[in-house]
């Protein structure tokens, strides 16, 4: 992909005024430039927008009206009709995806809608027949049933939504059956993000998906690791999370290729080292009020050093 140059960026007020300051534009030129930049999209632009917006908004409002109508009559509906409604939507979404193919965006979106409707179908079934299942069973079954569609669609937003659904099922299972050791839950959720990240790297997924999964992994592991360093969590879960953060950060920093990943890793490391330094100040040295000043200065120093290093790498690379 060709590198985007500053001249291809949007003509914002900032940039136009910069051209004026540099005397590339005179007063009359600035006036004309702002008129061009701030002008409306014109007849063709409005037509392009309205052809899509009217379809999406009109279809959405009509669909909402139909949903509200069934909600109004829900209690009076027969059980079979209740079950048939999401099933019909499911069939329509599946049919659309088959017809358009999974290489087309609307086919992928249709299959994603189908995945959502699987959950709606399960919820309606549970409500109609009062199965007595726990909430985690609904989400776990939902996750299991949509796996083939998620794999077939190769649609990154659906992959991310599936990971979130799976983690919700795990979290609900943990709270409804295990009920304790929440820091191990945090570690497990981070590990789930890690497995999803490895799969995303293997499938050469987009950078945004990998960075979102990496951020989720580091956040869910940094929290128990920091609490462990503060002396508030058991050694096994906190130690595992700490080892995980240090390992991932070390891998990212030693590769030195992904600047955003390195920034995330350094943010995690700053949080952990500041927690340790805070414990030293407040517990070992009993500095109390002065400790707050020292921790503040330590955070400022570490962040400044980390950003200065990353900016240097960025300038060398560009």
């Amino acid at each position: 992909m060709a590198r985007r140059t500053p001249i291809d960026a949007a003509a914002t007020g900032d940039r136009l005024r910069a051209l004026h300051r540099a005397e590339v534009l005179d007063d009359a030129g600035l006036r004309r430039a702002t008129e061009i930049a701030c002008g409306g999209p014109g007849r063709d632009g409005w037509r392009w927008f309205l052809e899509r917006a009217l379809l999406v908004l009109g279809g959405g409002l009509l669909a909402a009206g139909v949903v509200f109508f069934f909600a109004y009559n829900w209690a009076a509906l027969d059980k079979l009709v209740k079950l048939a409604l999401p099933a019909a939507g499911l069939l329509a979404a599946g049919g659309w995806a088959l017809g358009r193919g999974l290489d087309a965006l609307d086919g992928q979106v249709a299959l994603s809608v189908g995945c959502v409707l699987v959950g709606v179908q399960l919820a309606v079934y549970g409500q109609t027949y009062q199965t007595g299942a726990d909430a985690w069973q609904l989400f776990a079954t939902w996750s299991a049933l949509v796996v083939p569609w998620v794999l077939a669609a190769r649609f990154e937003p659906l992959w991310l939504a599936f990971v979130a659904l799976l983690e919700l099922a795990v979290a609900l299972w943990w709270s409804q059956t295990v009920g304790s050791d929440e820091w191990w839950l945090a570690f497990t959720l981070g590990a789930t993000d890690g497995v999803a990240l490895l799969a995303a790297i293997r499938w050469r997924a987009s950078l945004w998906l990998r960075e979102v999964l990496l951020a989720g992994l580091l956040l869910t592991w940094t929290l128990p690791a920091a609490v462990f360093l503060a002396g508030e969590v058991d050694a096994a879960a906190g130690g595992a999370a700490l080892a995980g953060v240090v390992g991932v950060a070390g891998w990212l920093l030693s590769r030195g290729r992904d600047l955003l990943g390195m920034a995330l890793a350094l943010a995690s490391l700053v949080a952990l080292s500041s927690t340790l330094f805070g414990r030293l100040c407040f517990e070992a040295l009993e500095l109390d009020v002065l400790g707050m000043l020292l921790v503040g200065l330590a955070v400022a120093g570490q962040v400044s050093a980390a950003v200065a290093w990353l900016r240097k790498l960025h300038r060398e690379a560009s």
């Binding site: 701030c38 917006a53 009217l54 009206g65 400044s304």
Partner: protein
Amino acid sequence: MIGRPSVRDVAVALELDEPDVEAALVEHARALGLDSPWYLRTLMGAGAWVAGSFVLGFLFALDLLSGDGARALFGLALLVVATAARRAIGEDRPFGEQLALVGSVAGQGLVLSAVAGIAPRDAQVAAVCATAFAQAAVLLVLFPDAIQRFGAVVTMAVSLTLWLVLESEIGWATDALAVLVGAATATWWLGESRVLRSRWAAWHVPVGFGLAVALFVAAATSLASREPWAASWAAVAGLALVLLGVVRVAARDAGLSPPERLAAAWLVGGVCALLHAAPGIPAALLLLVLGVERRHPVLAGLASGLLVFFLGAFYYQLATTLLWKSAGLAGAGLLLLLARGALAWSRPR
């Protein structure tokens, strides 16, 4: 298709020398630190907030601020120092910029807490709202920072709204505020070209988005101040009139013929009438039309989010039955789909 033209488009239209334009833009980006990726500036800013909070915590823990007078004096001093520091720092110092902002936020909080302590109980709300409004108005002018300016506009709207809801005896005051903020938002965004050529150019984006959020606050409050989320016909009608005014400007700029302008006005009026019970729809549609007319995808995206929010809030509105809601939604949906059909039919072949 609705995005802004690029600088290259402008340069070509004005027959500018592209290497000169490129050099000026590179220098501009370097001067503002925009040559660093956004996440490095974010990391620096977040670090400043954490470090600043600890340093302020140290100052507060010194036990010097136990009295209202001391808090007011220290808060004012903090505001003066933070404002002077921000003016001296200039650009490309994300850490210093954010640190000054931390000082400003802490100073405002201290002054407000002192005013709440000093004011008599029956005048407490009015005193705090008036002080918050005045502080924000002064900082809007004196504190040259986009985040502060955005926050100042939102603070002014929130303090005025809170005062109207909690203290004012005027029942229609929140409706009038929603319509006034709607008109101010429309005027500000439609006058973008003029603002960008003036000395207020740096205010345009923060104040514009501050007004958009203020419109959301005012519209939601105008509805939520009535139980249970019942739409006020006055607010809906006023905002619909502002929306029709914006549609008229957009239709004129797009070169629509008089019958086409009339059709656009009937469509917007029809949707607002059918969804008159749906809270905030005209406010969200107003921002959407402004976002497209100004070719600002972020504003259009914000408007889409608000549209979804207000449609969701419609579900919880208990003044109308689900059957009537269903009829309004389906009717508006059909009207829009008919308009889409007419648009497709009129497409030049």
